[in-house]
């Protein structure tokens, strides 16, 4: 989607340039002295911890950017800088072209009430309010009438599939259900920008998978601009339009899932990709060869957006080259079973390379 978005000249909804977040007393002074070259070790000796180190990127309208990193990598801190839950030490952040860091607290409240929604790892529900009241909370805070906010909240309850439980209290729901409430609440004010901070990390693996599907379904309907934080590389691959991989506050690589798997920029990123079964991540288009003469092609055709794993068997049973077509049915390339075999078992597969 991103590549298309950039091609179509879509405007960036979130724009960060040289964002730094340093914890500690003399953070500002130290940062001013360092001229933008931050060495975590020097800062640590001065009693400061570097949370985010020179982050610059853009998130486009309708895009899902997943920030991936292990604990302590600064991914949640980056998210909190962009939602201004923590103050940024240096750099600029623009939301829809507005300077976020220059906003007064009044403007900030207004922005959050109208444009931003956020989902939290441990749900952050208010224990003394029912599901319905929790979902209606952002609307009530905004000053909407009780009738309107209850009506809207009921719609949201339906959207996340919690009908019939609206009068329960959070403590009476399972973790997955609580997170559905968290999602419904964050969407109640119809925000343009949706922040999700490890939303599924506190859930069991099966529920997590179910919630990821739910998330993709919702995004299919709503088409928000999303910043999604996770420590799970597979989750990132599943959900992302683009992935930013962070380590020690630095964004190591920011690219599409396919590019990250195919050409990891650093040794650190490569380690993540090692264990990833490429056939389950990559699309045909990222491994296909240029189109060959029509006489060499067999009767089989595959879509360029298909994940390799889903069409591998069909391609392997076809002795001739297979045509790759795009959504309009035009042939954009070709692929041969030999390629698939080398993909699955040969040099091309990093998993086996190491053995």
């Amino acid at each position: 989607m991103t590549s298309q978005a950039i091609k179509n000249g879509a405007k960036p909804v979130i724009k960060c340039s040289s964002v730094y977040k340093v914890f500690g007393e003399n953070a500002k002074k130290l940062l001013a002295k360092s001229n933008g070259r931050v060495d975590a070790k020097i800062f640590k000796d001065a009693g400061c911890v570097v949370g985010v180190n020179n982050a610059s990127f853009e998130v486009y309208e309708g895009e899902i950017l997943v920030v991936m990193g292990l604990s302590g990598s600064g991914k949640s801190t980056l998210l909190r800088c962009i939602s201004r839950l923590t103050d940024t030490t240096a750099g600029d952040i623009f939301i829809d072209g507005q300077d976020l860091l220059a906003m007064t607290s009044k403007q900030l409240i207004e922005l959050r009430r109208s444009k931003m929604g956020m989902v939290f790892q441990n749900f952050g529900l208010l224990p003394h309010k029912t599901i319905l009241e929790n979902i209606a909370f952002p609307l009530q805070v905004k000053g909407k009438s009780t009738d309107d906010s209850v009506k809207r909240a009921l719609e949201m309850v339906k959207l996340v599939g919690l009908d019939g439980r609206e009068n329960y209290f959070p403590r009476q729901l399972s973790g997955g259900q609580q997170q559905r409430v968290g999602i419904a609440r964050s969407l109640a004010v119809e925000p343009d920008i949706w922040f999700l901070d490890e939303p599924f990390s506190a859930l069991d693996p099966l529920i997590r998978k179910e919630m990821q599907d739910e998330f993709l379904r919702l995004q299919g309907v709503l088409n928000k601009t999303i910043l999604f934080v996770t420590h799970d590389f597979n989750e990132a691959l599943r959900l992302a339009d683009r992935i930013a991989i962070m380590k020690d506050g630095v964004i190591e690589q920011l690219d599409t899932p396919a590019n990250i798997v195919l050409c990891p920029a650093t040794e650190y990123v490569r380690k993540f990709t090692e264990e990833v079964p490429r056939e389950k991540v990559l699309k045909i288009e990222s491994v296909m060869d240029p189109a060959v003469d029509a006489s060499l092609l067999g009767p089989l055709q595959v879509s360029n957006g298909a994940i390799i794993y889903t069409v591998a068997e069909a391609i392997l049973t076809e002795p001739k080259h297979v045509a790759v077509i795009n959504t309009r049915g035009e042939v954009v390339g070709s692929i041969h079973s030999a390629k698939i075999i080398s993909m699955l078992f040969g040099q091309g597969n990093a998993t086996h390379e190491k053995v």
Binding site: M118, F120, Q121, H128, L132, V141, S186
Partner: protein
């Protein structure tokens, strides 16, 4: 050398004790010897405080005040007028609640005049029949918790009414009903301020520490100076005394609200006020309500003590009965106070633990069923009491209100019991009493008084240094130095001797009883309930039975102190032992330990830091009780505080003495807490 390397702390301790005893033996007791006693540098301080208070009350910032009765302007000090106005306000509130419960004319007088009330005989607010109050409390108990609590509330109120203590009980209640809400709101406000501002927290915390270790009496004197004597003064002293725990628990509750809930609030666009009232306070509801519970308990604990400065009610009558040595009556009154305390404690805890209900689909009648039921009940009871007028024609209307001391009484029974005990047990008790005083207490007292001040400082600061380094040594040294510079160092030593004797016995009993009870889950549950109940008794109550047995002596005070101070020791021992991780217990079982080995090798080492925190509580409880014991005659700091109370210029002395007691408590508190925290970290249990 090897010993020094392996156990440096033991060597330090031995060296410390050697120096201590050397000093004790070598320093000559001589008033001019600075090593023996420090000169009372602060002797003039109480005078200055008195002067300052007087200046504030009578001279500072004169203002012109219009006196409507004399119809002319008068010059008066600002502070005096402010405190007067405040007193009047508080008094009006107390009278108002009191007259709702007991009837009267004062509220009507406030809005009209005495002449109006004199001319119109109908202008009297009628008393509420006791059945209404009783039923109301039962209903509340049922709504908050269920049948058991309703039954308890019903029995307690019936007892109070039938035994003819309804009027003083309602007087006490009216005073609690004003003091408690004010304390709660004030505590909530200050707690919220401390949460919001780091600076406010840094200022408040040491003040709270001192406030919670100052003996109750010390609050009475400044209040008396600034607000005079009466119900309002009692209420104000109570408010000052009851607010600190509320501040603490509010702050604790707010701090425990998870960061994510706060962030969720911020992302939903809450303003500061919305954040506080819609997110933080409701989420911290339980801790804050536990604070409310603490406030109510403190109010009742003060009920007796506030009667020293004129608060009416059960406490006042109890004090009177004790002074006349009418033990039977004192016991009945004591039971009334305990019953009120237990019922209010259970009600407020039930409220704290109750989850919010949701009323979405209820109709009006369902939603307000308790309110409607109460109204019906009210009408029925009023009708009953009118009916009672005819049934008990000429006599007492038992359905309306049983006048003071005209109900059933068991006084004679108790009195004869006491007489019987005195007759039959006198010799035994007296022998024990004499032995304790002559062979134990006197030598101990002499030993404490024979300690040169230099030796005391070396010992205490040395312990501080070994436990917490230079910082701790300086803190405890500083606290003691304040006491040493006052004129009351000897009195403080006597207080210390009584407290340390009581703490030793209490801790011993507490640890033994606690350890025995912890062996069995039923016994530990039972003992915790007993501790809970005993802890709701206002401290003063403990004096009644011991006076019954031992008369007015040091022994009585000590036994009361020991009983009272044993409660936290038992409780913390049980809690500490039962919080030993199950995996460690299992590991012990698989290693084949027997009960004693388990206790010595597994449970005790792990639970000991927590038990020491219990001992810390024991010290504070014992200090409080020793001071209260002064009322029945001891010669420690408490006695001097009492004297200050009856002195017109007592404010300076009272405050200084209060601080002396507080600093004694804080020094011990600091040492034990530092040690326990370190130990908990070392054991990985913090």
């Amino acid at each position: 050398m090897k010993l020094l390397k392996n156990h440096p702390k033991y060597v330090h301790f031995i060296a410390l004790l050697t120096v201590f005893f050397l000093l004790c033996l070598t320093v000559t007791p001589n008033e001019t010897n600075i090593l023996w006693r420090l000169p009372p540098l602060f002797a003039g301080l109480p005078g200055s405080i008195n002067g300052f208070a007087e200046h504030l009350m009578y001279d500072w910032f004169p203002v012109e005040i219009y006196d409507p009765e004399l119809e002319e302007y008068e010059t008066s000090a600002l502070v005096r007028e402010l405190t007067r106005g405040f007193s009047r306000g508080v008094l009006f509130c107390i009278e108002f609640v009191r007259e709702i419960l007991l009837g009267g004319v004062k509220t009507i007088v406030v809005f009209t005049s005495w002449d109006f009330v004199g001319d119109n005989k109908w202008a009297v607010w009628p008393a509420l029949p006791w059945t209404v109050v009783s039923g109301g409390v039962m209903l509340l108990g049922y709504a908050l918790r269920g049948k058991a609590l309703a039954l308890l509330a019903g029995l307690a109120t019936a007892y109070i009414a039938i035994f003819g203590q309804w009027e003083p009980a309602m007087e006490t209640l009216s005073f609690v009903l004003i003091a408690a809400p004010v304390s709660c709101l004030l505590g909530l406000f200050l707690g919220a301020v401390a949460y919001k501002s780091k600076a406010a927290e840094t200022i408040l915390m040491p003040l709270l520490n001192v406030a919670q270790t100052m003996p109750h009496f010390s609050y009475l004197i400044p209040v008396m100076v600034f607000f005079g004597v009466g119900d309002h003064a009692g209420a104000i002293a109570t408010i000052i005394f009851a607010t600190p725990p509320m501040i603490r628990l509010t702050l604790l509750g707010l701090k425990r609200v998870s960061l994510e809930v706060i962030e969720a609030g911020a992302m939903n666009g809450c303003t500061n006020a919305q954040m506080m009232f819609k997110v933080l306070i409701p989420t911290a509801r339980r801790d804050i309500l536990i604070g409310t519970n603490q406030v109510i308990m403190q109010c009742l604990a003060m009920a007796v003590i506030a009667s020293f400065i004129g608060a009416k009610g059960l406490g006042f009558n109890l004090l009177l009965a004790l002074n006349q040595l009418r033990i039977g009556q004192a016991l009945e009154l004591g039971i009334c106070i305990v019953l009120i305390a237990v019922v209010l404690d259970k009600l407020s805890l039930a409220w704290a633990n109750k989850q919010t209900d949701y009323f979405a689909d209820y109709r009006f009648v369902q939603r307000h069923k308790y309110g409607i039921f109460f109204l019906v009940f009210l009408v029925a009871c009023v009708m009953l009491s009118v009916l009672g007028k005819f049934i008990f024609a000429g006599g007492i209307n038992y359905f309306h209100l049983i006048p003071h001391n005209q109900g059933i009484t068991t006084e004679l029974f108790w009195q004869s019991g006491v007489d019987w005990m005195v007759e039959n047990w006198y010799r035994g008790l007296q022998t024990f009493n004499n032995w304790l005083i002559i062979d134990v207490l006197m030598p101990m007292k002499t030993a404490y008084l024979g300690m040169p001040v230099s030796a005391t400082f070396v010992l205490v600061m040395g312990i501080g240094f070994i436990i917490g380094g230079l910082r701790s040594a300086l803190i405890v040294g500083g606290l003691l130095l304040f006491i040493a510079f006052t004129e009351w160092w000897d009195r403080a030593l006597i207080t210390a001797y009584m407290t340390s004797f009581a703490v030793l016995v209490s801790a011993l009993i507490g640890i033994v009883v606690g350890s025995l009870c912890a062996q069995n889950s039923f016994a530990s549950k039972l003992i915790l309930v007993v501790c809970d109940t005993l802890q709701t008794f206002p401290s003063f109550i403990y004096l009644i039975p011991v006076i019954m047995l031992f008369g007015v002596t040091d022994t009585s005070v000590l036994i009361a102190v020991i009983v009272y101070a044993t409660i936290p020791a038992v409780r913390y021992t049980v809690e500490g032992l039962s919080s030993v991780p199950a995996t460690l217990q299992d590991a012990g079982s698989m290693a084949g330990v027997n009960k004693l080995q388990r206790w010595v090798n597994i449970e005790m080492p792990l639970a000991f830091p927590h038990i020491m925190l219990g001992v810390n509580q024991t010290v504070v409880f014992a200090l409080f009780m020793v001071i209260i014991g002064a009322m029945i005659g001891t010669d420690d700091l408490g006695q001097y505080i009492l004297k200050a109370l009856s002195d017109k210029n007592g404010i300076g002395n009272g405050l200084m003495l209060g601080l002396c007691v507080a600093f004694l408590g804080l020094a011990v508190d600091h040492l034990i807490r530092t040690w326990a925290d370190q130990k908990k970290v070392a054991l990985g249990m913090a």
